[in-house]
């Protein structure tokens, strides 16, 4: 699955899709493939503050649990509660149905520093 070029990426394999000052956050196809079958996703409730590069939640596969690091600083507006009963959406549709949070971003310029899809693809080739 190629990384969509409408969004930005982090080295922690997360993406941010910006719409004004609201960013939708999720993990990449590479990340879901590495994690394996997801069984639980632990996300912060609306109203919670998130900070760039700090842990905001956990994602658990059959074999192991991994931390989720926020690619942005701001306040959680919405959480994808559909993942409670359907954690497999993260595996099956990491860029669409598997979205995790919608965040009101304090400083949208912060997202400029993240990688575009071509940079992220290069990053995967060299790091993987």
């Amino acid at each position: 699955m190629a990384s969509p070029n409408d969004r930005k990426y982090t080295k922690e394999h997360e993406w941010v899709l910006l719409d004004g000052d609201v960013g939708t956050v999720g993990i990449t196809d590479y990340a879901q493939d590495q994690l394996g079958d997801i069984v639980f996703v632990e996300l912060p409730a609306p109203g919670t503050a998130v900070t760039y590069m700090q842990k905001f939640g956990e994602i658990e596969s059959v074999k192991a649990v991994s931390e989720l690091f926020s690619p942005v600083t701001g306040e959680v507006l919405e959480r994808n509660d559909g993942l409670n009963d359907n954690p497999q959406w993260v595996n099956d549709s990491p860029y669409e149905d598997g979205w995790m949070l919608k965040v009101r971003i304090a400083d949208p310029a912060e997202v400029d520093a993240l990688m575009v899809s071509a940079e992220y693809e290069t990053f995967l080739e060299t790091a993987g």
Partner: protein, 365 residues
């Protein structure tokens, strides 16, 4: 034994690469943890037929007039009772009654037995058996690297494999035959809670045998699903559920300790004393009552107080909830007792359930 950093490869290694398996180190071997996905592979075994490369497990034959007696001496169960073509599960203990390994022994001939041990304990058990079998008129023959072993498991396993040989083997029985000029061993045993056979074949014939099973529609399954399957069936994993500081009675292995034949065996004196004595801890089946996954090492709390630890834990694809086995005081091991597991600082409520978590449906004849 591999030197530091070099992993051993089974005769089927290239088959796993061809199938795009994700390889991981396990007990000194490079093994497939998954091919397509743990849950998909798990379900293939529960619903159809899956196969595991278990060549990494230790395989040794014991030859000689005292083969049966030497096996009885190594194991807690009286292996002299085995009929021709019969097998049985047992523990092998040290003189303190601590479990060195859990094993399976088969009687191939009156003077030829096969013992299968865990991959993680193969070097230890080989040395242990060589030392003790030397006291008998019997010899140990190492068949580990000269053979491949494949476990085919699932409700459709027998049907997909077909043939008179496959259909003729009854539960816990084994037989040998010829396959394209190679000796093939098969036993109606397994580690998943499903029906099926486990095969041992000469290493050089392993890949072709694996191919034939693939063509019969058997799905390759990795170690990830092997663990979720065995835990649903409440089967033990050495290293997680027991070690040399565990005795058979603490982990529900009372049924593989036979003392009434009066014959001496390694650990007998200690086990004689331990049997009937109060257990300081008991391995108990736990099922989660909320979201979250219990895992090895997590603390178990009863009414706020730490009372034990999780030995094995995972997410059960069949039950869609976390399951595990943990050590708790015997007085708290009754069905329905509720605990809290400390999962990375968050409490996960669980309750004691009877074993196994999953039992395969009875076959209608």
């Amino acid at each position: 034994m591999s030197d530091a950093g070099t992993l051993l490869r089974t005769p089927l290694y290239n088959e796993h690469l061809k199938l795009g398996a994700r390889m991981v180190p396990f007990a000194g071997w490079e093994m497939p943890v998954q091919y397509t996905g743990v849950i998909e592979e798990h379900n293939a075994v529960r619903r159809a037929a899956g196969m595991f490369d278990v060549s990494h497990m230790g395989r040794y034959e014991v030859h000689g007039p005292d083969a049966a007696r030497s096996m009885r001496y190594i194991c807690t169960w009286d292996m002299t009772r085995l009929e021709l073509g019969e097998g049985h599960y047992a523990a092998a203990c040290n003189e303190a009654g601590g479990i060195l390994d859990d094993v399976y022994v088969f009687c191939l001939d009156p003077e030829r037995y096969l013992i299968v041990v865990n991959a993680s304990n193969a070097p230890k058990m080989k040395r242990w058996m060589e030392e003790h079998i030397s006291k008998f008129n019997a010899t140990l023959v190492d068949r580990h690297e000269s053979t491949a072993m494949i476990a085919v498991q699932g409700p459709q396993a027998i049907e997909k494999m077909g043939g008179e040989f496959v259909r003729s083997i009854k539960a816990r029985r084994c037989a040998e035959t010829d396959w394209r000029g190679y000796r093939l061993f098969a036993s109606r045993t397994g580690y998943t809670g499903e029906d099926g056979l486990e095969f041992v074949i000469d290493a050089v014939a392993g890949p072709d045998f694996w191919q034939e099973l693939l063509e019969a529609g058997v799905v390759p399954v990795g170690l990830g699903a092997r663990d979720t399957l065995r835990l649903e069936a409440a089967l033990l994993l050495y290293g997680n559920d027991m070690d040399e500081d565990t005795n058979p009675f603490e982990v529900g292995l009372d049924w593989v300790v036979t003392l009434h034949d009066g014959e001496d065996f390694l650990g007998r004196t200690a086990l004689q004393e331990l049997r009937g004595a109060e257990l300081s801890r008991k391995l108990t089946c736990l099922r989660a009552l909320d979201r979250g996954v219990m895992r090895h090492g997590h603390q178990i709390r009863f009414e706020g107080e730490e009372v034990g630890t999780v030995a094995s834990g995972t997410f059960s694809p069949t039950l869609n909830v976390s399951i595990g086995m943990g050590f708790v005081p015997e007085s708290l091991s009754a069905e329905g007792t509720k605990f809290e597991i400390d999962v990375r600082g968050r409490p996960l409520p669980v309750e004691v359930v009877p074993r196994p978590f999953y039992k395969r449906p009875k076959k209608s004849k």
